[in-house]
Amino acid sequence: MKSLLIAGIFLSLVFAPNVFAQGVGVRVQREEKREERKIKITAAKRERIMSFSNKMTIRLDAVVERLQKLIDRIDARIAKIDASDTDISTKLAKDAVTEAKTNLASAKEEITIFKASLTSIPEADDAKMAFKETKVSLDSIKNKLKAVHSALVKSIGEIKGLRIGATNEK
């Protein structure tokens, strides 16, 4: 009986560290798997953020292009009016277009910075803070693009106010 007890103690001393080590190993593996899963979720979210960001930048570029085309067309209309009648003053219309051009140039610069900050959000140490800053930047861009639009509306209003006959429209 005594020898059995001693053998039991001996065996437990031999195998206990291994069992303990195995337990630790399993726990470490579980932790690693959990971490891996976390990284995977982050990667999936990152992918979604990039997809949404791409959509926003594509839309912004399209709007900028549209406003640029409108500026070019108004410029062309003013040039035709100037060429047809030198007595008509297109100054106010031109001033409004200049205002639109200035705001559009500024918006374009801000969009370049915005794109960079948007792509850096998932990598940022403080993603929430980075997002807040990006949001402020986007608000500024939106206001600039709205100012471009308003200036163009003003310009076309000035052109309409010149009361040029339909024949001069061609």
Binding site: F52, M56, R66, L70, A76, K80, K146
Partner: protein, 78 residues
């Protein structure tokens, strides 16, 4: 036997509804074609420089949804 089948079918239905709900809430089911159509609409303007044509394109210029995806980005961060 029958009740097991019913339970299995209900479980599948619940899973399908949960996946569908998740996709709808994250707006992943929005077709890329819908977005492409939206962009094509923004990019499409007349080449004419008559006051009427310019005014029409100006009126149709929509600047209200420039940040449509911002909420979705925020949802991913939080």
């Amino acid at each position: 036997m029958k009740s097991k089948l019913v339970i299995s079918l209900l479980a599948i239905l619940v899973i399908v509804l949960a996946v569908f709900g998740y996709l709808m809430s994250s707006k992943e089911l929005v077709s890329p074609k819908t977005f492409e159509r939206e962009i094509t609409k923004v990019e499409t303007v007349s080449e004419l420089d008559t006051v009427e044509d310019i005014e029409k394109d100006l009126t149709e210029t929509d600047l209200t949804n420039l940040d449509a995806e911002l909420d979705q980005i925020e949802a991913q961060i939080n």
